[in-house]
Symmetry: C2
Subunit: 281 residues, 2 copies
Amino acid sequence: MKMKRSGRLVDMTHYLLSHPHEVVSLSFFSERYESAKSSISEDLVIVKQNFESQGVGWLKTIAGASGGVIYVPFVQKAQAAAFLKDLEEQLASGNRLLPGGYLYMTDILGQPAFIRSIGQLIASIYAGDSIDTIITVETKGIPLAYAVASQLNTPVVIARKSSKVTEGSTVSINYVSGSTKRIQSMVLPRRSLTPGARVLIIDDFMKAGGTIRGMKNLIQEFDAVVAGAAVLVETKEEDKLVDDYVSLLKLSISEGEQLSIENGSYFNYYKEVNWHENDLY
Amino acid sequence: MKMKRSGRLVDMTHYLLSHPHEVVSLSFFSERYESAKSSISEDLVIVKQNFESQGVGWLKTIAGASGGVIYVPFVQKAQAAAFLKDLEEQLASGNRLLPGGYLYMTDILGQPAFIRSIGQLIASIYAGDSIDTIITVETKGIPLAYAVASQLNTPVVIARKSSKVTEGSTVSINYVSGSTKRIQSMVLPRRSLTPGARVLIIDDFMKAGGTIRGMKNLIQEFDAVVAGAAVLVETKEEDKLVDDYVSLLKLSISEGEQLSIENGSYFNYYKEVNWHENDLY
């Protein structure tokens, strides 16, 4: 459909936001709007400047005959810090401490806008990495896993705690929960991971890390590669069974059952991007 | 930040897309861009025309001193039909039939872009309704529930099959699965629903409808109101324990184990919107 610049800018913004981490060629836009590539290039400069100044993400330009752009969602450091501060305040307020050292987060995990923001923060860490698939284990990590996946443009696989008739043949492992020391199992449909795939582990809460370690073992069972692991909240006290993971928040509970929440390892993994260099990939 | 029209259009588009079903005042945009309300009004006309012609949704204008706009995501009928046709073809291909009359959909449910589109289709049915909360039961309906919720701007609550330590005090019901006739239970945190809330039920697959009926009972247990129920796939054969639900697709399996998939009740519930009238709410 023939469109003026103003209409093109609205449509391009919508299109790019719904197709992150995907190469979109100049020709595609040129045909879509029946406009010259030179005009499209000018449009994209406007979109790029706005996305970068407003902290929506990065518009990487690909030069050459098959040239185009890739929209890379990316949260700036100051925004990430402000979001985490806000989240810490929400979690510290109210009566959230539950028996066993757990934190009531169900209400916050039920807010799609919050989940989307958390997904954007985690996706920023892996924006320059090559992630093929996201894995989580049922139940509460699922929304987070999809939020990250929709930013990174990857599929999600969900490990189940027992084999389901609706998933065909499966691969199963046993693992020991780090906190309760109980043996549990984790099951993934046989068709869900391909050998060599780079897999990112996502979960909502980590105590000792037994579940994360279980997912690592499951990934290896498929001859796939653990590309990273990220959780929303980890506890401070426990000895961990895994190292090298991203946590957004770290929770500790004093002897008087006082809750304290601080930043996790997030900013240790955060890489600043120079918006004016095109070498993210 | 002072912005020219071109930058404003990019930013407004992004802002509105991330804030569906929310009143955004002219003053808000006017301050955000340090621009006159008259300019903002002109911008919004451009955004509105584009959203409506491209099928992104509807931009409802609110007149008066507290005037502004609401972005209502809405899929046009032709787009919805094309999407369902595509989904039917994907589900009919490959070897998806599982023992017990189930369909292997795990790969499709693992694609965030597909899930988002399904969410947009379901949200279109309820675009003019007033939905306070979305409910689903673990596990496979969860991504769909969030996809609908992020379009309708509502929270999600997830019923669990057993009580979890991480959710505080709970309300539990027993229900009979319509297909297997087994008694099962379903649990929701006590803080998750408020009396009178209008709750939309979302699930991935429905055979006899026992699970949907269970969620209806659970909603009533909280003195909340069942505002509707929508599933991705229902089976054709079984007698249903519920009526009045939206299904996107209907699956039947012939005696020779041949799978056939057709449209469900979706278009019976679909209401055409006259884009030039502002009376959606």
